[in-house]
Amino acid sequence: MTTPEGNGPVSPSSEVPLTPDRAENWHRVHPVSPFVRGWIALAAMAYFFGRDWFEAMFRGEPLWILTEGRGIWAVVVLLVVVLLLVGAFVLSWWFTRYQVTEEHVRVNSGILFRQHRQARLDRVQAIDVIQPLLGRIFGLAELKFEVADAGESAVRLAYLPLASAQQLRATILARASGVELDPEHPDEAPEAPEHPIVQLAPQRVVGATVLSGATVALAVVVVVIGVAAAVGYVADWGGLPVLLSALVPGMIAVAAGYWSVFSTAYNFRAAVSPDGIRLRYGLLETRAQTVPPGRVQAVAVSQPLLWRTKDWYRIKINVAGYGVSAENSGARTTLLPVGTRDEVMQMLALVLPDPGTEDPFGVFTAGLVGQDNDGGFVTSPPRVRWLSFLTWRRNGFAVTETALLARSGRLVRNLAVIPHERTQSMALHQGPVARKLRVADLQLQTTVGPVSPVVYQMDIDVARRLFNEQSVRAAAARRHSVPERWLERRQETVQEQAGAENGKAEDEQR
């Protein structure tokens, strides 16, 4: 590289790197970005100063800083602080530059402490295009490039014009997929065609919110408070106001619960393209997530208590780049916020294209709502009945050729699916009580995320056999897993199953 500091020519930010950048080509994000990023700081300042002024106005007193000629100084100080803030953001914008080469995406940032970051394109785990509320007003979007580091975004480009962000995403995905581009126009990476799968209607979102776990919590709170109030009234106890004030944090939590269900399910759409699954959602801040094929490490389908009346389910996924995603209350790791059984099956088919069984619908239905041995599930032995009297007929597992299904939960039903080639490690656990009953738990370990599949309370011999067989299956599956560049056909796969692969690849291109 001729300019190791990344000080080469910087092209105007609106110009998106469609062709692979040479080492000396760098770009800047959109010039409005520092203001979009800095508005929170400015808003905080406005709040800080504005509140004083406001309160003083209500009391009818003259504001301290505006009396005795201090006003002019206050304005000067305010202006200087604002200018410094704006200056800092503008400087940070000026010193942040990025490039997307054939193999890597690089970002250099920082003024005093320079940071050069580079990530390999084919290590991409997911790409998000995010539009915060203010970004939507300006037509700007943030591009997040995730690698497998459990939640720390490898590369964030904030902000680009929306169309450029989408074009850049298509370019990155095309280069990461190893697809062979049209040799005559190597710089044209078309956005992969999408095929819509699920779109949530507003009624469903409202219904899901109303029937969510927050309602159960609300009911519990109301009952507890009601009983306490009645007792307090009868006993002529004076603590009622205290009790009611204790209600406030509870109510805030319930409202937050409603809000998180509503805002993540709002306008949710899922589509599939050769570049993977694409999810879009959001009320104020909109997000479009792309998860390339083979990046989903584990899936969990669950059903909160009240959703049972509607036969609705929620799907969560583990993706190595997403981590536990405290941000957005776990919305990023949600594959389907609320869906019917058919929609769940469709989404599962996307994540697990080859279910590895003759009757996928039967097996997965048994996993969702079944008990005992329906669908080929193996459950806990009856002797654990007194220990888990609700769940012993649900707790169980089924194995297909491609995945392991772990079923659990009676009131809140749960089904975890983990493809054999994604199992990281496994552990058998047994405590003293379990040993008396000759049962053990099998925990399957996957990357950081909301899904942690556990097969509960299996007969010790069954558990041991599953443990052994599963490690053999996982080892076999690893050898045939999807290549990292998902559209590039691997040498050995080509030889092994040339015919089948060709048909599949054409299918995906259509």
Binding site: A320, Q424, S425, L428, Q430, T447, V448, I460, R464, S471
Partner: protein, 170 residues
């Protein structure tokens, strides 16, 4: 607790160095003395008459209970150390541990992201080291403590070599 262990019967386990029992016991003695000293403070204050108002039963319970629990933990240590074992198989490494709460873990070589070898001051004095395997999952808590230093080095090299040969993506 003499019933069968959870691990498959046909595995020949490599056990950790018996010296590791001494290391654990020294560590245990230090922590036991400290916790005993702290939790006996009310009793001492009571007996010396500095704080006569403190309920006597609670003071005795705190000190006595700590003593009993610590002695019990100390008595368990030799058996706990003897329960730790590992076995290298063709495709994966098995690790077992625990007496009351048993755990048997399998880590495929192809899944290892890196291997740590850690040596504390006490372990160094006894020429011991612990090896820890990391996969992409933070739940993989696969550490083998109390290995002789040369065995730890051998295991690290062996694991790295096998990991490279069977490397898989995520």
């Amino acid at each position: 607790m003499r019933s069968e262990p959870i691990d498959p019967p046909d595995i020949s386990w490599i056990r950790v160095a018996p010296k590791y029992i001494t290391v654990r016991l020294i560590g245990w003695a230090v922590s036991a003395l400290i916790s005993l000293a702290i939790l006996s403070v009310p009793l001492i204050l009571l007996l010396t008459g500095v704080w006569p108002g403190f309920p006597a039963w609670l003071a005795w319970l705190l000190a006595g209970g700590t003593l009993v629990i610590q002695v019990w933990i100390g008595l368990l240590i030799p058996r706990q150390v003897k329960a730790i074992g590992y076995a290298e198989r063709d495709e994966d490494l098995l690790i077992r541990q625990g007496i009351f709460f048993q755990r048997l873990m399998v880590v495929p070589y192809g899944r290892m992201q890196y291997v740590d070898v850690a040596v504390g001051p006490l372990e160094r004095a006894f020429k011991l080291a612990s090896v820890k395997l990391h996969t992409a999952s933070p739940q993989t808590n696969a550490s083998i403590p109390g290995l002789p230093a040369e065995e730890a080095a051998r295991l690290r090299e062996q694991l790295s070599a096998r990991g490279q040969a069977r490397l898989a993506g995520l």
